[in-house]
């Protein structure tokens, strides 16, 4: 099956975000196609390249990047949510003259249209953190 995820919770503030990752991992392992993971609202913090977890803590940003690499899933951050929380790519950093980009390279910034696209093209779409 083609599966997409809608993640709403931020990485270090909720169990739901971890559940999302474990679900994605299990789905990929079971042979399903992970189409897209759409990070919306507070979940956009998953896409920060500036996050520095403690040495004995799970790197919640990196493990999504690795999962995407293994599974081919696209990791998308919602543009409006990301901008106001300071997660910017080069284009946005230049557009708004912020001087630096902060997005982890495994993620892309896009609009809610990509959530709708994921909905249209996936057999299942699950929400985590709602």
């Amino acid at each position: 099956m083609k599966i997409s995820l809608l993640v709403l919770a931020s990485p270090y503030a909720s169990q739901s975000a971890d559940t999302a990752w474990h679900y994605a991992q299990a789905a990929a392992h079971a042979g399903h196609e992970l189409y897209r993971v759409f990070f919306y609202h507070e979940a956009v913090y998953h896409g920060s390249r500036l996050s520095v977890p403690a040495q004995d803590e799970i790197d919640r940003v990196q493990r999504w990047a690795e999962l995407a690499e293994r599974s081919g899933a696209e990791l998308v951050l919602c543009v409006a949510s990301a901008l106001k929380r300071g997660i910017l790519d080069d284009t946005e950093a230049n557009r708004y003259e912020r001087g630096a980009h902060s997005i982890h390279p495994a993620f892309v910034i896009a609009g809610l249209g990509q959530l709708v696209d994921a909905s249209v093209h996936s057999d299942r779409l699950l929400t985590f953190g709602g």
């Binding site: 409006a80 696209d117 249209v120 779409l125 929400t127």
Partner: protein
């Protein structure tokens, strides 16, 4: 980008209007689905029912009005909202006091209703 299939989506709104920004995020997602021609229905449940109350005066807490967004939804072809009757009863809210056109769903109707959708966006 988005073509062909038209999904039957249920947007589940379970959070109070100004308890964080999740309520706002849910409604923005609804408008996006509408703009991309999807068949989206909205159900208010649990704390989400508070979004339907009038006289929100959200400017006083420096927030954009959820009520205003709900008022604009008919312009996006979302003409009415479903409301979980039990959520209203538990909070002692009279359906007649709610703004917008609402359709009450009883407890017995809820499972079948939820099942009738292809996907659930839960906010």
């Amino acid at each position: 980008m988005v073509s062909g299939t038209r999904r039957k989506i249920l947007l589940l709104c379970r959070r109070a209007p100004y308890a964080g920004y999740l309520a706002r995020a849910g409604l923005d997602a609804a408008l996006a689905a509408a703009v991309f021609e999807q068949d989206l229905t909205v159900l208010f449940m649990d704390e989400g029912i508070w979004q339907l109350l009038p006289d929100q005066h959200s400017a006083e807490i420096e927030c954009k009005s959820i009520a205003s967004t709900l008022d604009s939804m008919p312009l996006y072809d979302i003409e009415s909202f479903y409301v979980d009757a039990e959520s209203l009863r538990l909070r002692d809210v009279d359906a007649k006091t709610l703004t917008s056109k609402t359709i009450l769903l009883g407890a017995a109707e809820l499972p079948g209703f939820l099942d009738s959708f292809e996907q659930l966006w839960s906010f």
